[in-house]
């Protein structure tokens, strides 16, 4: 399948890319990993007249802790997350997530920024970043602004990014001691999107009770869903089996999946409950270490 014709632009800097976005308006699209955009162009689901390839912009790919945050450059590839020592040692939720996204070849190209900017609730980073309480840095003609993740996903394939903005960085608050996280995803095969998946990030206090909890669901509605009732329920409680089961029940009640080839809605809700239970239990175990 040959994609529709377009003009190819290759900026060297972020300001140059922003200027191109301004000039070409809705006719332009950023090309990052291309692992969602190119398949959509082949299917004529996207037909940009201008492609702005940001892959040659230097300095947009990094993973570093700085100023209280783990900062991930917008152009950082999934394969780089997977190989990152910081991510492996301190951000198990992020590591779990990167490992189950697509397949090795796709992960060599696909970017974290693209995964979020695409606005697809079936993607795995959106729920994970929600559980982690991340912030999105958008750079546009008026400079940088920071968008809390809870305000980032507007609806299916629509984010809070303005037409002339580029997602340049993701900031994750560095978790305090006694924190842990986990991502549980059921996929039909490697490379498939989640039938259901649950992201959990927890911090325990000195007594072993839950000090804070972030829980979010993948592919359970038009945007990733934050399971607020489950989070509130867990806070202040000792995470024993009964408490975890009840929190998982509340998390699954937040799901509004639709039926598709991956299964009927009721099945996906049931799955969300089981996956939430497992993810919370794993997060608790990791936080206790």
């Amino acid at each position: 399948m040959i994609p529709p014709a377009f003009e190819y632009l290759r900026p060297k800097t972020v300001p140059e890319a922003v200027q191109m976005l301004q000039q070409h308006g809705d006719e332009a699209k950023i090309l990052s990993g291309g692992q969602s955009l190119i398949p959509m162009m082949k299917l004529r689901l996207a037909r940009p007249a201008f492609i702005i390839d940001i892959n040659r912009i230097a300095g947009l790919s990094y993973i570093k802790e700085e100023g209280g945050f783990l900062k991930i450059g917008g152009l950082t590839r999934e394969a780089e997350l997977e190989a990152s020592h910081i991510v492996k040692s301190k951000y198990p939720l992020l590591m779990d997530t990167a490992e189950v996204i697509a397949d090795p070849q796709v992960r060599n190209m696909a970017t974290v920024g693209g995964n979020l900017a695409h606005g697809d609730p079936a993607n795995d980073h959106p729920a994970t970043m929600m559980a982690l309480g991340a912030q999105i840095v958008a750079t546009g003609s008026k400079g940088e602004r920071v968008i809390p993740i809870e305000q980032f996903f507007v609806t299916l394939f629509t984010t809070a990014l303005k037409q002339d903005e580029i997602l340049t960085e993701i900031r994750i608050p560095i978790p305090p001691a006694k924190s842990g996280g986990a991502y549980e995803k059921l996929e039909r095969k490697v490379g498939d999107f989640a039938t259901a998946a649950v992201a959990v990030q927890l911090t325990l206090d000195a007594s072993g009770a839950v000090a804070s909890a972030g829980i979010a669901l993948t592919n359970a509605g038009p945007t990733p869903i934050k399971a607020k009732k489950a989070e509130d329920f867990l806070r202040g409680k000792k995470p024993d089996a009964a408490t975890i089961a009840q929190a998982a029940q509340l998390a699954s009640e937040a799901a509004q999946p639709s039926a598709d080839l991956r299964g009927p809605a009721a099945y996906k809700v049931g799955l969300a409950k089981e996956l939430a239970k497992r993810a919370i239990a794993t997060a608790v175990a990791r936080a206790g270490k």
């Binding site: 040959i2 090309l31 190119i38 398949p39 492609i51 390839d53 090795p104 796709v106 190209m109």
Partner: protein, 161 residues
């Protein structure tokens, strides 16, 4: 749309081509550069038959524009053979019957090649993980895993890269 001139190195040789921006890398490789070992299977980014190495990493060449590879270094299945000698992976696929129809094989070889570069002594699970972006409709994967194990062993003995 105006054509653009791009330069790539493919299997050690510098080549130039004039391409439309929408030309997919796999078409550049097969049609303009004449390296037809790389296959197009699904054309929807799922099967991995089109897997090649770009700047040392495996990618799906049906999911990249040729212009993106400008200035880059490509290696396709044709690049595995060195001085007329098969690569141990190629030998492994022959000895262990790692193929039936052979359609997935070029992609399987490239993914296995990348895996062994990173991890010369993979477990069975590592191998299955390494080829998880490549689909095979014939073999049931069992003999592909054996073929990669064959190559890993041979490379450890012979010091081949």
């Amino acid at each position: 749309m105006a054509k653009q001139t791009i330069k790539v190195k493919i299997n050690g040789r510098e080549r130039e081509a004039s391409v439309e921006p929408r030309l997919l890398l796999v078409h550049l490789i097969r049609e303009s550069l004449g390296q037809t070992g790389t296959h197009i299977g699904c054309d929807t980014s799922n099967c991995g038959a089109c897997t090649v190495m770009l700047n040392g990493k495996t990618i799906k060449s049906c999911t990249m524009f040729a212009v993106q590879a400008d200035g880059g270094e490509l290696m396709t299945v044709e690049g595995l053979i060195q001085n007329g000698q098969w690569h141990p992976l190629q030998e492994g696929f022959k000895e262990e019957h790692g193929l039936q129809c052979g359609f997935c094989t070029p992609g399987m070889l490239m993914s296995s090649y990348a895996l062994l570069q990173k991890n010369p002594n993979p477990t069975e699970e590592d191998i299955r993980w390494g080829i998880s972006g490549n689909l095979c409709r014939c073999t049931g994967y069992q003999n592909i895993v054996k073929a990669v194990q064959f190559a890993a062993k041979k490379m450890a003995q012979g010091g081949t890269k």
